[in-house]
């Protein structure tokens, strides 16, 4: 549908919800407000889609998770561990040559951690892409059977669904 209607997906995450058999997708799309409204209407039409929410402007929480493998031996290792602390990230695997760091947060925070780690030699990275949820009781009014095709939060100018 996204391709057919000429929308470009920037990030897409899929996972289970509180209701068995129902999954939730967070999709980030670069478009304007008019495009977002059209996209929302087209998503609604897909038979298996239970609910669509555009949370671009709604108060919402968005998180991204990253695993970063950094080359770190000797003194560098101590520096990296300090940076991990500052960023409230965690070290989840240690080997003689490298460390694997886990971090969650906004895209900006992860990007910035990545920047400071780069000089030490980032060997590998994997990121989930954004997951998001509206704040407060907003989305909870239609519980259980309803699913969300949620829209990812995005910088206000871009407009997203």
């Amino acid at each position: 549908m996204f391709r057919r209607r000429a929308f470009n997906i920037e990030s897409l995450t899929v996972g289970h919800t509180e209701t068995p058999g129902v999954s939730r997708m967070t999709v980030v799309v670069e478009t304007d407000e008019y495009g977002a409204r059209r996209l929302e209407a087209h998503l609604h039409k897909l038979v298996p889609v239970r609910r669509v929410e555009n949370i671009t402007v709604a108060p919402s929480i968005a998180r991204d998770l990253a695993l970063i493998k950094v080359a770190a031996t000797g003194e560098a290792r101590t520096h990296v561990m300090q940076l991990v602390d500052v960023y409230r990230a965690r070290i989840i695997d240690v080997s003689p040559e490298s460390l694997v760091i886990e971090t969650t947060g906004t895209e900006d925070k992860i990007d910035s951690l990545l920047e400071v780690l780069r000089p030490y030699g980032v060997m590998e990275m994997v990121r989930t892409g954004r997951v998001a949820m509206a704040r407060g009781a907003g989305a909870a009014e239609k519980p259980a059977a309803r699913v969300t095709q949620v829209a990812g939060a995005h910088d206000a100018s871009a407009g997203s669904v």
Binding site: R4, R38, A41, V47, P48, V49, R50
Partner: protein
């Protein structure tokens, strides 16, 4: 009934469900993966029409649905059988036609292994179906098929495909049918519009000086023709139709303006550009209807009613957008709208008609040429406008829309959105099967006819009284016309050699006649009408005639290329 008696194979269950969904005929073609279903068919009373190409099966199911209003059903095998349905499914999708296609699939154990005749048809048809299902377990056949029918016919209708693995057809299970309403949590075919929308719409209608109602295909699909007529008669607002809306409002009604858009009448497009209110009912502002969007109906406020919310504010931004079934919307409006004197606006439109509307092409002298316009106009007069006309795609399709006046819903069947050549002959077979008592005419070009003419064999085998008027101009005429206008008459790949169509028909055991002179048209048409069986008429018309008026693609709606010669101008209405 004991449990034992309720055991059925998946193949039998397919027919049990079809029967309970009210299906009396399926159009299909057998093959390996659907053979269990075909074998089981012999135990059931549902009629099967054997087609000559699966594309024909899909178009027949489509024509059946358009003519009769029910859900059309096509049946095909896996792989090539299923892929041959694709054009027909896409055609039905674009025109919102309720249709269920059932395809056999290779056994669930080998799905994904590139087995013989395996095609991922649910993947292929994902963007051209309203929804589709892959069924690999016998217990899932009933729910999938019931949902398929429900989805196909509810809300904005559309085609649904159910792909059933061969082993699911062969397996046996308890057949349970409780007839309860289908529950699908994510699917909401109906919407509710608030009372404020009703009030804004009625206010706009009551205050408009120069309003036009647009009759789209939705009027026909919703069965809202009578309500539209009431609205027109109560408000005195004139009606313009889209191609697929023709027949939704009687063409011979004094307030009917005719067709809008690329080949619409000049005065209709001019009136749209001058209107102060457009009330668009069940249409989607296709580019063939609007011309250049930047200059489209700039002086008009717009009300748009459509059952599909995604159509609202899609191409044209409107002032009042109502996502609702048209019957419900019109029933709500009727008590509130007021009668107003609109004679100034109507005479302004009449003035735009000028000369072209008052000349009757029947009165023009016979200059020795056979014009398609005359053939169609004769066909209209001789059938008293009562026939179901099924047209193909090209110049003849536009001439039919201009010169055959459709007064009834479902009396014109044509591929609008996809513009599928080869549609007419098979769709007419479906129409005739749906409405055996109707007089059915095919109006088709020499190009499109050659795409699906194998279905003449289906007509012969089923002994169907479907008459075929081939508008034979020796060209892929509509493309030739564009080459003439926009490519300096460079006729690349448009001159077209056809067979002797009359002899071809005879080879199928069908009456075939050629007509070269205007004076012969009436006699041959009358003979075909009276014969009680199919006749193919090869009307050898003027070769380089063009369809006028014409809004070049992307041009402003009122910047039309006008008719250069009065010989084929529209008859008085």
């Amino acid at each position: 009934m004991s449990g034992q008696e309720n055991k059925r194979t998946g193949a039998e269950i397919i027919w049990e469900v079809l029967g309970r969904e009210g299906v009396d005929v399926v159009f299909g073609y057998p093959g390996g993966a659907i053979m269990p279903a075909y074998d089981a068919m012999l135990k059931y009373k549902i009629r099967h029409v054997l087609v000559r190409h699966e594309q024909g099966a899909a178009h027949m199911a489509d024509g059946y649905a358009r003519a009769g209003g029910g859900v059309g059903v096509a049946l095909a095998t896996s792989g090539p059988g299923a892929t041959n349905l694709v054009t027909g499914i896409a055609t039905a999708m674009m025109d919102s036609i309720p249709m269920v296609c059932i395809t056999g699939q290779v056994s669930s154990k080998v799905i994904g292994s590139d087995a013989f005749q395996e095609t991922d048809i649910t993947g292929v048809t994902l963007p051209i179906t309203k929804h589709n299902y892959l069924v690999t377990r016998v217990e899932d056949i009933v729910p999938a098929m019931r949902q398929a029918f429900y989805v196909a016919r509810s809300g904005r209708p559309g085609p649904v495909l159910v792909d059933i693995a061969k082993d699911a057809q062969q397996a046996t299970t308890e057949f349970v049918w409780d007839g309860s309403p289908v529950r699908m949590p994510g699917y909401r075919p109906e919407h509710r519009a608030g009372a404020d929308q009703l009030k804004s719409a009625v206010d706009l209608i009551d205050h408009a000086e120069r309003p036009i109602l647009f009759c789209g295909h939705g009027i026909i699909a919703a069965g809202a023709g009578e309500l539209l007529r009431e609205l027109v008669e109560k408000t005195g607002i004139p009606v313009a139709a889209t191609l697929l809306g023709l027949g939704g409002f009687p063409a011979t009604h004094p307030l009917s303006l005719g067709m809008m858009g690329m080949h619409g009448e000049a005065w209709v497009n001019q009136a749209i550009q001058q209107a102060d209110l457009l009330i668009a009912l069940g249409m989607r502002f296709d580019d063939r209807v609007t011309g250049n969007l930047k200059t489209y109906a700039l002086t008009a406020k717009k009300i748009h009613v459509d059952i599909d919310r995604a159509e609202l504010n899609k191409n044209v931004r409107v002032d009042v957008a109502i996502a609702k079934d048209l019957r419900t919307a019109l029933v709500e409006w009727l008590p509130h709208v007021e009668k107003r004197d609109r004679s100034a606006w109507l005479s302004a439109i009449d003035a735009m008609k000028g000369d072209s509307a008052v000349r009757d092409i029947q009165q023009l002298p016979d200059d020795g040429h056979l014009y398609a316009a005359h053939v169609i106009n004769d066909l209209w007069r001789l059938t008293k406008g009562d026939a179901v006309v099924v047209t193909d795609v090209g110049q003849h399709q536009m001439w039919e829309a201009q010169y055959y006046k459709h007064d009834r819903s479902r009396s014109l069947i044509t591929s609008g959105g996809l513009g599928t050549m080869g549609f007419a002959l098979p769709a007419a077979i479906g129409a005739k099967v749906a409405r055996p008592d109707a007089e059915v005419w095919v109006v088709v070009g020499d190009g499109g006819f050659q795409m699906t003419m194998c279905e003449l064999a289906t007509i012969a085998q089923e002994k169907l009284d479907v008459n075929v008027a081939i508008i034979n101009n020796g060209y892929l005429g509509m493309v030739r016309q564009w080459q003439e206008f926009f490519y300096d008459k460079r006729y690349a790949a448009t001159p077209l050699l056809g067979p002797d169509f009359a002899k071809l028909a005879q080879a199928f055991g069908i009456t075939g006649v050629a007509v070269k002179k205007r004076g012969e048209v009436a006699g041959v048409v009358e003979a075909a009408r009276r014969s009680g069986h199919a006749t193919v008429i090869d009307f050898q018309v003027e070769q380089e005639d063009s369809v006028f008026p014409m809004v070049p693609a992307g041009a402003d709606l009122d910047k039309m290329i006008r008719r250069p010669s009065p010989i084929v101008e529209t008859a008085a209405d």
